[in-house]
Symmetry: C2
Subunit: 404 residues, 2 copies
């Protein structure tokens, strides 16, 4: 008799965004005709940049002709894309990476979960609280989280990120083997300084830990003193894996392209994690569609860079609108600078699911309840800057009205 993975039975309820989708569907069904504004999920609304469209159209045409058709590509991604990444996202910051330290994939969500394959089940794992749920759930599935006690996982190390500490985690008492960090942070919108990241890199090098650094929101950094990559920090190449995505940078949420950096200098127990990840990817993955990789590479053209910058400016404006509007409405608001996420305290100490329901029912605005990101997210909601500009303005007005 086959045995199922018992860890799945420990997972509480639904994945956060599925639960939101369920409540929103139920609300929409009960209120036909009412216009909902969705600022919950961090999903882009601007179309793909023209340079990307042009490159993908050309690639589709190539696939239709025998002489230019492409079958299996390299599992790790085409050289043209890996090299464009190395040059534009790293060399431009003074970071030397070889193309084969970069692994192109279908998404940072996939990689943040799949990376667990190369680590032993018995490592201790630290996550920020609140945290992007995928880190937690994938480690729970792998058996690293222990049991869920209704509130927390017994074996996870939670690093509270609260207003008191500027939403920055502190090194925990029990030393973790694997440390998930995400800056600019999802969900709090907090961005880490060079000193902050240096502290973590030194800590990981000293303890032999590995930092799993989610840099999916790097493109939203505007403060030039902030690091854009963990590899700007001395020693990080010996202790950190970095996840990046084209989802929020260039609107690829439905087009699917991301990449993960595993430096060759990163070794544990005599093994190169770069080789291990390469083995994992060549065995369990077959690369990103050629068409999509051509689209991703186009964002590094002169034209593409300008268009991406314009889209980012549009979303940054939304972030400012939300931040300023909610502040004016007397909410305590964090993030929204160097980040597409706004993290707002619920008024009157309302629970975050209650405030989510209030915003859904009274304002017709979809947010994300902070409690869905972990116990320390209770008392907050997250709003995203990825909506339509006019709708965002309207949403802020509606929220202000609903809490007046």
């Amino acid at each position: 008799m086959v045995k199922i993975n018992p860890n799945f039975q420990k997972l509480p309820g639904n994945y956060l965004f599925s639960e939101i989708a369920r409540r929103v569907s139920a609300h929409a069904a009960a209120n036909p005709g009412k216009k909902l504004i969705r600022l919950g999920i961090g999903d882009c609304t601007l179309p793909l940049p023209p340079a990307v469209i042009k490159a993908m159209s050309a690639a589709v045409e190539e696939m239709g002709k025998k002489e230019s058709f492409r079958g299996y590509g390299p599992e790790q991604g085409y050289e043209f894309l890996r090299e464009a990444i190395a040059e534009n996202d790293y060399a431009a910051l003074g970071i030397k990476l070889a193309a084969d330290e970069i692994f192109v994939s279908d998404g940072a969500k996939s990689d943040c979960g799949n990376i667990g394959d190369i680590f032993d089940k018995d490592n201790s794992v630290a996550v920020c609280d609140p945290v992007y749920p995928a880190y937690v759930d994938t480690n729970a599935m792998a058996g690293r989280a222990g049991d869920h006690d209704g509130d927390r996982w017994t074996n996870l190390i939670y690093m509270p990120c609260t207003a008191e500490t500027g939403f920055m985690p502190e090194p925990p008492k029990r030393t973790p083997d694997m440390i998930y960090l995400c800056f600019p942070n999802n969900p709090t919108g907090a961005a880490a300084t060079r000193d902050r990241l240096s502290l973590w890199v030194d800590y990981a090098v000293k303890n032999g830990s590995v930092i799993l650094f989610d840099g999916a929101y790097e493109a939203f950094i505007t403060d030039e003193t902030l690091p854009r990559s963990i590899y700007e920090i001395k020693g990080a190449e010996e202790c950190a894996i970095e996840f990046r995505s084209f989802s929020k940078t260039a609107g690829f949420t439905g087009t699917r392209c991301a990449y993960t950096v595993v430096p060759k200098a990163l070794k544990r127990q005599g093994e190169s994690l770069n080789s291990m990840w390469n083995r994992r990817q060549t065995t369990k993955f077959n690369g990103v569609p050629y068409i999509v990789q051509r689209g991703a590479a186009a964002i590094y053209s002169d034209e593409g860079k300008k268009e991406v910058a314009a889209n980012l400016a549009y979303y940054q404006k939304n972030a400012a609108v939300i931040r300023e509007g909610l502040t004016k409405a007397s909410l305590s608001v964090f993030g929204g600078v160097n980040s597409p996420y706004i993290w707002a305290q619920t008024p009157g100490k309302a629970s975050s699911w209650d405030f989510f329901d209030l915003l859904l029912n009274k304002a017709g605005v979809v947010s994300t309840p902070g409690a869905g990101f972990g116990p320390a997210g209770e008392g907050y909601i997250r709003l995203t800057a990825f909506g339509d500009a006019e709708a965002t303005i309207e949403a802020v007005e509606r929220i202000a009205d609903s809490i007046r």
Copy 2:
């Protein structure tokens, strides 16, 4: 100190196709100007069908306009594709599947490996010998294979598939919990009859095993008495997961789209494997690009069906050319009917890597050494029908010359 997954250290040498690529590169570097014919990897050479190109071009345009742009899609695939699959690939065979029993993914290779996430580490696993290496390597990584003794994995149950038994596995003495079956088979090209599959379904139902059925080559079945899906067999919905791919059907090797069927009737220890796989996919995957799903759906249009059939006929002709040519050259040849793979015995009991090297060096033809698929593959090579038609004819002539 972080601990790596110790199972990676047990993996012998390189993944088969990487090793072939290495030898071919070395040969090409040493013999510049020599024309190599690649019949090793099962990679398509015909361009994508015009209906697919048309649909993808239109989808690229949609992504470039705000009103038709698509962000995150459902992790499980769009309804339009899941329904087209249910109707054309299943209802047409008399199999009733709901759209939510079908999970669209980026590849059967990914799914065949990732499916292990929902099963316990301590299940016993049976594989055919020879076998597509990804089943073995992914289970080894997950700790289900034990140790590699230089020849075999100590905990895997090998089911020898030899010429004597028509390359059909027999139920093993030790009862396996997870049973990987692939028909039409990669690498032997053997196709299973209804009676054969019934035997396995009854066996799995009786023992509570789960069959992981790889049907990636279903489109090559021409014999109408053969089952195209394991769900044509009574009871299979209670014991089998089926993997399908657009790679070989419609030339999607570089475009990446596949799907996995997990019937709702499939339960173990009171849990629905459909729900478990849904949880796995929503947590560790973010769906296939919208553009690609539109391309995949187009193969079910009238135009698309005709074009796919024409491409399949082209490859089937190649299979016949190889089968007949090698037979004429006095090789013992199997497969190549109902299958794109030709499985040929090496002459003079040569080892399969030696014969691979001979074909590479004397004929300039890339094959796949049978030993790379497992101990019982020794003494065979695999050739694929996915090459260019003229090149395939030339390859067969060159092979005949090289062994004369």
